[in-house]
């Protein structure tokens, strides 16, 4: 599901129902069930046998939705939040920095809502393993159920455990450790124990506040970690528009130009309540130019990413 692609939808599959980029929902396809939204009702049995990436019309023909294959990136967008989650930019950067690839063994605490966990599982499958730890009993149970339902139990082992009080309970097995805890400095000793000693061990600590970063860096240094580096990373959206770009001669000649911008977009869907009209039908063609601009408001901070390595002993 998340670490393999399928072509055709089968009974029991997890499918992401896509309405708009901001309106997506995961559903388990089950013959006999019905999915409802403002475009109508959709029979699950109509979905079975369709290719992933297909469009499906509602039963009463009022509209349609798209059926997408689940991926970790999509999951991050639709996962029910039990905690603040990790977003795509941080997930990607941490994965590359920690050199995650098939076969790697990773330790994560806390599991939280499992956003990062799904991505890690995909990246290290099929031969790697993720040991993830969550100290909140209900969250741990919810995440465990999700990993099972998503076919990830072979790759992910979750344990309800307070790693600061009790360590990870494992030693010298991990290629990489990820700490997303309020006090990661208290888990550095445990991280050191769980990391492999026969090769470079990598660690990333994820903290929103600079004070946490400073305490973490000190702890890493005290415990013999090196190459301590800290980054922040953000992915920013560019809005793309087709804008009228007439020569001033038009105005000099007394022509009235409408500067209503048309968003570069496909045909509007049925039942879309947006009141913007299709300008092209009413006025003659104006010279247009495609431009882009940053979004007006954008995320300014997620967390600081503190990386370090644990070097194996020198060969004398």
């Amino acid at each position: 599901m998340f670490h393999q692609y399928k072509r055709v939808i089968e009974d029991g599959d997890l499918v992401i129902v896509y309405v708009t980029p901001d309106a997506m929902r995961p559903i388990f396809v089950k013959s006999g069930e019905i999915f409802n939204n403002r475009f109508g009702s959709f029979r699950h049995s109509d979905m079975i046998g369709l290719e992933y990436g297909s469009k499906i019309e509602s039963h009463d023909g009022r509209g349609y939705v798209y059926l997408l294959h689940p991926t970790p990136a999509l999951w991050t967008q639709v996962v029910p939040h039990r905690t603040q989650i990790l977003y795509f930019a941080d997930i990607s950067f941490i994965s590359l920095h920690l050199d995650l690839r098939p076969g790697k063994v990773m330790v994560e605490s806390g599991t939280g809502s499992g956003s990062f966990s799904h991505s890690i599982a995909r990246t290290i499958a099929p031969t790697g393993h993720l040991f993830t730890f969550e100290y909140h009993e209900i969250r741990a149970a919810t995440a465990k159920k999700e990993f099972e339902e998503h076919g990830l139990s072979n790759i992910v082992t979750i344990e309800n455990r307070d790693v600061i009080a009790n360590g990870f309970g494992k030693f010298n097995i991990a290629d990489a450790v990820f700490l997303d805890l309020p006090a990661p400095w208290d888990a550095v000793a445990a991280a050191k124990e769980v990391l492999r000693k026969d090769t470079i061990g990598r660690i990333c600590c994820f903290s929103p506040c600079i004070e946490q970063v400073q305490a973490t860096a000190l702890a890493l240094d005290e415990h013999g970690f090196s190459e301590i580096r800290m980054f922040e990373c953000l992915a920013k959206d560019c809005e793309v528009r087709a804008v009228p770009f007439p020569d001033i001669a038009e105005a000099i000649n007394g022509k009235k130009i409408s500067f209503k911008q048309s968003i570069v977009d496909r045909k509007k869907r049925k039942l879309d309540n947006d009141s913007m009209n299709d300008v092209d039908d009413e006025e003659p063609k104006i010279i247009e130019r495609i431009i882009s601009k940053p979004a007006d408001v954008t995320r300014g901070h997620t967390s600081y990413l503190t990386f370090a390595i644990l070097a194996p002993d020198i060969v004398e």
Partner: protein, 397 residues
């Protein structure tokens, strides 16, 4: 469950490594057994003395080209004192050692006759304003001198991250300006997983192709289209890829895109020489490979289409999207936004794609030191742009 690799990861003979030098310049070297590695003014060392050791440690070059581990200082305990720079004047006469005396020390240091610590001690003792500096300033001064005089280096494994970081700094045009965070997002957007079939165009000398290969396992493959008769994926060379990984890469010249295969009809001459036989074997292998790659391309349904091209990206997209599967990702990279705008508009209007997005990644590093935590003074101005979209299934009207 048992970890995958139980053998320790030691530095291998013949391996490429990134060598980071104290001035924070880096270079890539091949540790060929028996060879000498030159680090310019920092000296030279015997490759054999590094082979068989571990990554993660700094080494100091000794007289004669051997190396010894150098213990890096952890965080210093510099703190706020009453010292300040109110009365410190920028005066070349502050340093009592003459230019000639310092040059002589440098030469002795290169020959291994005097240690960097001794030089630095001489410099600080003979610097009139040193004692009056703040603790932080003293620490910074010593660090600067260490970088200048210590014959130390830090070897790094040529992971995708380290290679991207290296080229981004040393020769960004080689990799078309893609920065580590942007590259990591490209891999995430394309959903590269162990047995994915990736269709790629990489005019950035193979960094993206190599990054994709590093995320594949048994059953995964990359088919890439390139200019010229052979690819120029120079970056792959430095990745120390095992044969089984290299075998997952299949390449096809653009000039063969519409090629129609004929049956292989070359016959051996009468009384063929060994050269004749070998030559024909080679050409038969080439013919078979080309045929397989074309079949692979034309069978379509690739799990991702990843493009980083010097050509008009929209023209490349239009040629290759028939090969992309349903609910699979198109990801296009370019160093400039303008190069991607026309493609964006076309994808949005095409009705064959969902969630067309254009993003730029922002990355900033911080110095974290006790009482001296702040962003670094310089940062990268840009790391490129990513255009992405979800491809719809082929039966969509």
């Amino acid at each position: 469950m048992e970890p995958m690799q139980l053998e320790p990861r030691l530095i291998n003979g013949g391996e490429y490594v990134v060598i980071r030098m104290p001035s924070t310049n880096s270079k890539i070297v091949c540790l060929k057994a028996g060879s000498t590695v030159s680090l310019g003014k920092f000296g030279s060392f015997k490759a054999d003395s590094l082979i068989g050791n571990t990554f993660g440690h700094t080494f100091e070059i000794e007289k004669g080209g051997t190396i010894k581990p150098h213990k890096q200082a952890g965080f210093d305990n510099a703190d706020i004192t009453e010292a300040n720079n109110k009365e410190i004047v920028d005066d070349p006469k502050s340093q009592k050692l003459s230019f000639e005396e310092i040059e002589k020390l440098k030469t002795k240091s290169l020959a291994g006759d005097v240690s960097a610590q001794e030089i630095i001690a001489s410099l600080t003792e003979n610097n009139e304003s040193f004692a009056r500096k703040t603790e932080f300033s003293k620490s910074k001064y010593i660090k600067r001198k260490q970088n200048k005089f210590m014959k130390c280096f830090f070897p790094l494994e040529t992971t995708v991250y380290n290679l991207c970081d290296f080229f981004f700094e040393a020769n960004p045009q080689k990799i078309r300006g893609i920065r580590t965070d942007t590259l990591s997002q490209l891999l995430g957007l394309a959903n590269v997983y162990s047995n994915a079939r990736i269709l790629a165009v990489d005019d950035g000398q193979g960094l993206i192709v190599g990054a994709a290969l590093s995320r594949l396992d048994v059953g995964g493959q990359v088919l890439s289209l390139h200019d010229g008769d052979v690819h120029n994926y120079d970056v792959l060379r430095y990745m120390n890829l095992p044969t089984e990984t290299k075998d997952r890469l299949h390449t096809l010249p653009w000039s063969k895109f519409h090629h129609k295969m004929d049956a292989f009809s070359e016959e051996l001459p009468e009384n063929p020489t060994q050269d004749d036989i070998n030559g024909r074997e080679r050409r038969l292998r080439g013919h078979t490979k080309l045929s397989q790659n074309l079949d692979n391309l034309r069978s379509g349904n690739f799990d991702a289409l990843v493009v980083s091209t010097n050509y008009n990206p929209l023209s490349v997209i239009k040629q290759l999207i028939p090969c992309l599967g349903g609910s699979r990702m198109l990801v296009v990279y370019d160093q400039s936004k303008e190069a991607l705008l026309e493609s964006f508009a076309w994808l949005r209007e095409s009705q064959r794609f969902l969630n067309v997005q254009l993003t730029e990644s922002w990355l900033r590093e911080y110095q974290v030191l006790p009482k001296r935590t702040h962003p670094l003074m310089t940062m990268s101005g840009g790391g490129g742009f990513l255009l992405s979209a979800i491809h719809l299934a082929s039966d969509i009207k």
